[in-house]
């Protein structure tokens, strides 16, 4: 088990303050909540995989660069999802927020 928090720059998400939600499937859960800084995205990661922090950082930095995620707090609970699954779920949750706003 490994836990860490990243604080990454991201374009403000529209209407982020009004939003919260969750996506989950088998080995991954992502909770979305509102944060404070409109141009930052905070991500709390809890993962069962040891020693892949740099991989996580690369996956998450790319995701919040692809989508406006400023003002959000993401909590990720991972039980062995591959980077492909993490990227896909992040795309799905962040695009849903874009569409909902």
């Amino acid at each position: 088990m490994e836990t860490f928090t990243l604080d990454l720059p991201s374009t403000p998400a529209n209407g982020a303050r009004a939003l919260c939600g969750v996506v989950s499937s088998g080995n991954l859960e992502i909770l979305v909540d509102t944060g404070h800084a409109p141009d930052r995205c905070r991500i709390d990661v809890s993962t069962s995989a040891q020693g892949f922090r740099d991989t996580w950082e690369a996956v998450l930095a790319d995701a919040v660069a692809r989508h406006p995620a400023g003002g959000l707090v993401l909590s990720i609970n991972d039980a062995g999802a591959t980077p492909a699954v993490v990227s896909l779920r992040l795309d799905q949750v962040l695009e849903s927020l874009e569409q909902a706003s």
């Binding site: 499937s25 995989a49 892949f52 991989t55 690369a58 996956v59 062995g80 591959t82 980077p83 492909a84 699954v85 990227s87 896909l88 795309d91 799905q92 695009e95 849903s96």
Partner: protein
């Protein structure tokens, strides 16, 4: 009879004479089988023990392994698959000492241990067609031990739906005056059809239980992931549709099962019915049922059968090859030939891909061999007939140069990380280390990089035909290798350049929204859905019944 030019025929007669008192005509009683084997086989003989992918001559194999090593020793085993413990027992007991084969998946670890202990001498690891070819050249069996469904009193044999290797083995053995012994599940008055005529075989034994058969090609749709759905969408839209692939072979993994299950849904929505996937060299995969029912598939020729598909296949004789009796006819040698020469595309998964596109399923400490993938997954340089898919692939590779031949599409589809974060893309294949450990002459590479045309991952499609240098090829592979160390070491500018040229295509570039990639697109989401799609004709093995 003893003329120097007909010694094999004379020897055949002598061997049969030695066991005449042990048999009743053609039939051997099960209890006499070991006596017969010890008498008819000679030390040093080349013996083909029918080990297939699915059907196994298991009673003959166990009986051979129980023979006395005093009587039988130094046998040279030639067989396509080592699947059963008894296939290894014959070496451990000192009955056999030399082996030429194709695939040893289930016994790969025991085989590697025998090699390291120098208890076995491996001639070579072959593809199926290579091994079958050598049965007729320099590995012709003196004795073959085969599996059939039924025999009649005259010794005619019926093979049932799982023909697999049997015709190739019997042809090579019988017509070189070797001894052909069959185990059968039953003796009947009248066979549904004659697959092996009595004068091509010598003896048969009714086995105490039906021969072992493995449902190797059943993939439960419940285990297909959203990522596999995404990759299947990319393959269908970015490759099948673009090249208009009509004739193809699929691997046996979940990645290709996902493609089969997207044909009636996603491919249908793209208007591709009748434009792709009409003719198949494929075992009767249960996951192909929805596509067949939806009218995508015109014909399927198979290497073997699949447990539970018998009634469905028999009821779809316009699609599958079946006998006058109505039951399925398969044939590994012909289907491999079809996969090599008559198909425009092979797509399958693998465990590791290196920077040149070489791929391997070799794992340290195991000698698994190859089976059929290298025949299917290679560009047949001898091919001469053209098709639109073959010509287009050839043109992409030839660039502006004159077009002298087309090109098969050989597609590897892999998620960048496998389970436990094992990267599918590596700087060096484990196959090289295995070569060192096992004293092999070459690394066991499944598909050679220069045969691969496309690599599909969740990140995109790399078209290696369009690469003009080794450096471009390397960056095209890194450019779809995701967050693996190989992928992260990419030259980002060169990768963007390759994307501009269409060498790399992302889901966006081919009009796929990753949000749409969900299991909801599968035409069947579990085994029960497959049974329903078949109108109740598909009868899944017990282990797949979870309702």
């Amino acid at each position: 009879m003893n003329a120097p030019w007909n010694r094999r025929a004379a020897r055949h007669a002598q061997r049969l004479a030695r066991v005449a008192h042990l048999a009743a005509g053609r039939e051997i009683a099960a209890g006499k089988l070991i006596d017969v084997l010890e008498a008819v086989i000679e030390p040093g003989d080349r013996v083909c023990l029918e080990g297939n992918n699915q059907k196994q001559a298991d009673f003959l194999a166990e009986s051979l392994a129980e023979c006395s090593p005093e009587r039988l020793h130094d046998l040279h085993m030639v067989q396509s698959v080592l699947a059963l413990p008894s296939h290894i027992d014959v070496f451990e007991r000192g009955i056999a000492s030399r082996l030429d084969f194709s695939f040893a998946g289930p016994q790969a670890t025991r085989l590697a241990k025998l090699v390291q202990a120098r208890r076995i001498d491996i001639g070579a690891i072959h593809t199926y067609l290579e091994l079958f070819g050598r049965y007729f050249v320099d590995l012709t069996p003196d004795v073959c031990l085969i599996a059939a469904q039924a025999a009649d009193a005259d010794g005619n044999l019926y093979l049932g739906p799982n023909t697999e290797d049997t015709p190739a083995i019997v042809e090579a053995t019988a017509f070189s005056h070797g001894i052909v012994i069959a185990q059968v599940n039953e003796r009947v008055e009248r066979l549904p059809r004659v697959d092996i005529p009595a004068d091509w075989s010598d003896l048969f034994v009714v086995a105490p239980r039906p021969n072992h058969i493995e449902p190797l090609f059943t993939r439960d749709p419940a285990l297909i992931t959203d990522i596999q759905v995404l990759m299947a969408m990319m393959a269908i839209k970015g490759i099948y549709a673009e090249y208009g692939v009509q004739r193809l072979n699929h691997g046996i993994g979940f990645d290709t099962a996902a493609i089969e299950l997207l044909l009636p849904t996603y491919a249908e929505s793209l208007g591709l019915r009748g434009r792709i996937c009409k003719h198949w060299a494929l075992n009767p995969h249960p996951t192909l049922i929805p596509a067949i029912e939806a009218g995508f598939v015109e014909s399927v020729h198979s290497f073997g059968s699949e447990v539970g598909m018998e009634n469905y296949v028999a009821a779809r004789s316009d699609v599958f090859f079946t006998g006058r009796d109505g039951s399925m006819r398969s044939n590994r040698a012909f289907c491999q030939t079809a996969g090599l020469y008559a198909c425009d595309m092979f797509i399958g998964s693998t465990l590791q891909i290196d920077l040149a596109g070489n791929s391997s399923t070799a794992t340290l400490g195991r000698i698994a061999g190859f089976g059929g993938a290298p025949n299917m997954g290679s560009d047949a340089r001898g091919r001469r007939h053209a098709s639109p898919a073959w010509l287009r692939a050839g043109r992409e590779r030839a660039g502006d140069g004159p077009l002298t031949h087309g090109r098969k599409l050989v597609v590897q589809t892999v998620e960048t990380f496998r389970e436990h974060m094992a990267p599918a893309f590596v700087e060096q294949l484990d196959a090289w280390q295995l070569m060192e450990d096992m004293g092999m002459e070459l690394p066991p590479i499944m598909i050679h990089g220069d045969d691969v045309s496309h690599i599909v991952t969740e990140e995109g499609i790399a078209n290696l035909l369009l690469c003009r240098s080794a450096a471009e090829r390397e960056q095209a592979i890194r450019g779809v290798a995701g967050y693996t160390p190989v992928g992260r070491a990419r030259d980002a500018r060169m990768v963007e350049n390759l994307r501009d040229r269409g060498v790399i295509r992302r889901p966006d570039d081919i009009g796929i929204n990753t949000r749409d990639a969900t299991r909801d697109l599968l035409a069947a989401r579990n085994i029960k859905d497959l049974v329903r799609a078949s109108g109740g004709l598909y009868d899944p093995p017990r282990r797949f019944r979870n309702w």
